[in-house]
């Protein structure tokens, strides 16, 4: 195979196609199901032919090499075999889902999620880079949250889905930290290189954290409780989650790392303990459940426990057992879950006590249940037998005590298997159904069971071609193969003993006096988790109430105070370079202006009267315009002047309106405000003084200054920056203005239809004078616009001046400036402005240049170019924006 990338995205592509043809998929569910299944099976077949004895293959695309993150995939015989299982069972599950939700509106979303989920799972097992693996890992957590909570109209679905999500995400966080530590310890994030390195150079913390991550994902004790709860998802989801994906990601990681990590003294004891505890708790819980799916979920927990033990042991023999156990479990658990779905669909219940004899009614489902349950119980011709024998063999050769513990707990699991199969097969004449199942559901249930039979029927071949290479990729002996008969070994004896014991246990469990599941029965860790979450919520509430009292003022004070305190520490008063304070002569004027600014600011900050507020604010704005002018920024001074004028115009309208609906809110006490604001002012002053002692390098500005004349043909560098060098920023800015203009229409739209307030007669002097001013304004605006490239001026300023002219016209009540006219005006100007600006940006593309490169036409000393066009677009957009606001606010101010 050339590259696994295509196979990796195949399920995601299926999801994309489903998303594009939702109605079609819903209408022809069966055809869609067949197509999707064919694609999945095709992918599995391609993958299957690629498995060989050859070692791993790497495929890498650089992503962020400096950080050690690459889109690197690693295909070993094991991960390829696992991929086959993912795609094969994915195909079955999709087929099942299409028949299960035939014509249902919920089908397309489910198929999309399942497709993405399969891709994410393939990503987990094929990633070579640790961080890539982590990304896919988190993707499976997120998607399983959506899948488990698929019936999101039910409270219990939402609750259990978020429980699974929180636990696996917390584990994911631990895993990430573990990966980072591993990366630091070994200096590589590539899995293949990590596996070839030395265990002594890996810190214990990394190993513990990675174990934690894998254990949460694979629902190992004490994080086991989320998995039985996660069965609230639809049946195909449960089948997929429990067989080949999600929970298998954790044991996959453990198995992959086992050959190296099992040399660490902590690895085997920790995982063996967790595994045994998981099996034990799952048996205890499963014995009391009567829900078929719940019992099956408990057997999944047990299987995961066994897999964890095998990965924990990590010897070559254990890895041999690991591969066959993983395969056998996937191939019997998926059909069992799907069969449970069949029974529920026909008999309307999952309660084992009500399903007595159900398997006899549905022939196909019945056969599947028998075959799969026999595999679960581990009887001879089934793959389950192999997995049980190799499990016992590996643990026995590692430690007989562990093997006995495994056999004892296995007896409980086998009993769970009997508990499922005996009621379903027993005679019961009351239960009957005449309806047949949809063919898709039967077929999807049957296929994996047949595959399991095929696997054992052709055992020498499958062992040699697929299972053997897969196991040897994990460190097992390449010459080893799977056989049913090894002669009389301790493992065989233990297996027989477990079977005999399980019959006894089954008798005890099936007795009517066996205590049933009490209503309030909730596992201990489940309750602990709920308690923990509730406590966290309460703490968050308390902290929130402490800081946020429901008033914006106190909230602001807390936020600003916090930021201020932080910056005060950042100030670092001990290190203070001497600031060269220059008192050159002309700053005397500045000294004269400063008291005025102080007075105006203080008035603006305290006054309640509209008039004094307007005057003081206008004064502050004017003085700042003067400061701009003083410090060599004429463009800023002009912009500031015009913006201040328009702000005053808007404020008059707004404050007059706000006065009428005076709302009283609780204010912070004045002394507090005073101290707070003085502190803030002093802090900012000190910060600026400190920043001024720094020597700035200005390579960017120097570049602009140097290139402005040569390549942009403009002497006014500020304007050239705006319309040429940084035109993309300006484009963003005028788009923001356009959005703000439309926002005003949305906020005030209803009010716009109201009639204007009674007309106040404007002064006749103003009416006459305004016309005269307007007459002069037109050439002035053109002149300001034109000269902008070489002298102070430009589109922004010209637009503000033009808007000022319109404001004047509105104040003197010109007949032409009716609200509909203004609306139309601003509407069309906005469209024209944005289109011209965009056009000027895109024109260079037509002649093979990059976006926004200026194209110039030179006529003697006259330079015409696209930046000029862009400036026109800016002019029109800003004018349209101003006109729109003038219109809204004028209605009110009259």
């Amino acid at each position: 195979m050339d590259s696994p990338f295509l196979l990796l995205v195949l399920p995601a592509l299926v999801a994309l196609l489903t998303a594009s043809f939702r109605p079609l998929v819903r209408k022809h569910s069966k055809i869609a199901g067949l197509l999707i299944t064919a694609l999945f099976f095709g992918g599995a077949a391609i993958l299957l032919t690629g498995i060989s004895h050859e070692a791993e293959a790497l495929f890498s695309i650089p992503w962020a090499p400096a950080l050690g993150v690459d889109f690197a995939l690693r295909l070993t015989p094991f991960s390829a075999w696992f991929g086959v299982l993912v795609l094969f069972l994915g195909g079955c599950v999709n087929l099942y889902a299409c028949a299960y939700f035939n014509g249902d509106a919920r089908l397309p979303p489910l198929l999309i999620l399942l497709g993405l989920f399969a891709s994410a799972m393939l990503g987990v097992i094929w990633s070579d880079n640790l961080y890539l693996l982590f990304l896919f890992w988190e993707a499976t957590s997120l998607l399983s949250f959506l899948l488990v909570g698929f019936h999101n109209d039910q409270e219990v679905s939402r609750k259990n889905a978020s429980q699974a999500f929180l636990i696996t995400m917390a584990g994911g966080a631990a895993l990430l930290v573990g990966f980072v530590l591993l990366h630091q310890d070994l200096g590589t994030a590539s899995l293949s290189q990590i596996l070839a390195s030395d265990i002594d150079s890996i810190g214990t913390a990394a190993i513990v954290l990675i174990m934690l991550g894998a254990m949460t994902k694979s629902a190992q004790w004490p994080f086991h409780f989320w998995l039985p709860n996660a069965m609230v998802g639809p049946t195909p989801v449960s089948a997929y989650l429990h067989s080949a994906t999600m929970v298998k990601a954790g044991v996959f990681l453990l198995g992959t790392l086992a050959p190296l990590f099992s040399q660490h003294p902590l690895w085997t004891p920790a995982l063996a303990t967790a595994g045994i505890m998981t099996v034990g708790t799952s048996v205890l819980r499963g014995a009391r459940e009567t829900d078929l799916k719940a019992v099956l979920a408990c057997t999944t927990l047990a299987a995961l426990g066994f897999l964890t033990i095998l990965a924990g042991v990590g010897t070559p023999g254990a890895m041999l057992g690991f591969v066959i156990f993983l395969t056998a479990h996937a191939l019997y658990k998926a059909p069992l879950f799907l069969a449970a779905g069949n029974l529920e669909k026909r008999f309307g219940t999952r309660d084992l006590t009500k399903l007595r004899g159900a398997a006899r009614q549905l022939p196909v489902t019945g056969i599947v249940v028998v075959v799969s349950a026999l595999s679960l119980i581990g009887l001879a011709p089934m793959p389950g037998f192999l997995s049980k024998e190799y499990l016992l063999k590996a643990t026995w050769s590692y430690s007989p005590i562990l093997a006995i513990a495994v056999a004892l707990s296995a007896a409980g699991v086998l009993a769970l298997g009997f508990r499922v199969i005996i009621p379903l097969l027993s005679k019961n004449d009351e239960l009957s159904t005449s309806k047949l199942l949809p063919r898709g559901m039967s077929a999807a249930t049957l296929i994996p069971a047949l595959a399991a039979l095929g696997l054992v029927a052709a055992l020498p071949m499958s062992s040699h071609e697929f299972l053997g290479p897969a196991a040897s990729a994990l460190g097992a002996d390449p010459a080893a193969s799977y056989k049913f008969w090894y002669g009389f070994t301790p493992a065989l004896g233990l297996g027989m003993g477990a079977l005999a014991l399980s019959l006894v246990v089954t008798r005890v469990m099936m007795r009517p006096t066996f205590p049933p599941l009490p209503e309030a029965f909730r596992p201990y860790f489940d309750r602990l988790f709920d308690h923990l979450i509730a406590t966290l919520k309460r703490i968050a509430d308390d902290v929130g109430k402490l800081l946020e009292k429901g008033q914006i003022t106190s909230h602001l004070a807390v936020m600003l105070g916090f930021t201020g305190t932080l910056s005060f520490f950042a100030l670092d008063l001990n290190e203070w370079d001497s600031l060269a304070l220059t008192w050159d002569g002309p700053s005397l004027i500045f000294i004269g202006l400063l008291p005025l600014l102080v007075i105006a600011s203080v008035v603006a900050s305290r006054t309640d009267k509209t008039l004094s507020l307007l005057v003081s604010l206008g004064f502050v704005g004017l003085l700042i315009a003067l400061i701009f002018l003083w410090f060599s920024a004429p463009d800023l001074a002009l912009t500031q002047l015009m913006a201040e004028t328009l702000i005053l115009f808007l404020l008059v309208g707004a404050l007059a309106q706000a006065k009428r609906s005076k709302q009283v809110e609780k204010s912070n006490p004045a002394p507090f405000r005073l101290i707070f604001s003085i502190f803030a002012g002093v802090l900012v002053t000190l910060l600026i003084l400190k920043s001024m002692t720094l020597e700035w390098d200005r390579p960017v500005s120097d570049y602009f200054l140097k290139e402005s004349k040569q390549s942009a043909f403009g002497a006014n560098v500020v304007n050239v920056i705006l319309v040429d060098f940084r035109a993309l920023d300006t484009l963003g800015e005028i788009i923001v203005l356009a959005i703000a203009a439309m926002g005003a229409n949305a906020a005030l739209g209803a009010a716009r239809k109201r009639a204007p307030l009674p007309d106040a007669e404007p002064s006749s002097l103003l009416a006459t004078g305004a016309r005269l001013v307007a007459l002069f304004l037109i050439p002035t605006i053109l002149w300001i616009f034109w000269r902008g490239h070489n002298a102070p001026g430009g589109g922004f300023i010209a637009a503000l001046v033009a808007a000022g002219g319109f404001g004047l016209g509105l104040l003197s009540s010109w007949n032409r400036l009716t609200p509909p006219f203004m609306r139309k005006c601003s509407h069309w100007l906005l469209i024209a402005g944005l289109s011209i600006a965009l056009f000027s940006a895109l024109v260079p593309l037509a002649v093979g240049e990059t976006f926004f490169v200026g194209l110039w036409l030179h006529l003697d000393s006259l330079h015409l170019g696209t930046p000029l066009l862009f400036d026109l677009g800016v002019f029109l957009t800003v004018l349209a924006f101003c006109l729109n606001y003038l219109r809204h606010f004028h209605l009110r101010s009259l």
Partner: protein, 97 residues
Amino acid sequence: MELLIAITIGILIAAGFYRLLGGTKVDAIIGLILLSQGANLVILASGGLKRNAAAILDGTPVAELADPLPQALVLTAIVIGFGILAFLLTLLIRPTK
């Protein structure tokens, strides 16, 4: 001169905070106006302050000209600030039910 501009900014910031903590919507808007005036001056000052050196190329050595980049930023900031203010004012006078 640097000291004076720093004090000016400090005063504007203090006045802005005082108003901002007042509690009414009008207070918040006026406070923001004052704060943004102060912030514009901060950006301008960060490029270094020069007299009689507008960034207009007329033969003066480039190194003596004022830094045009902060000026371009402030010009944008003034217009955007105006836009935000205008939008805030619509929210102020928006008829509430």
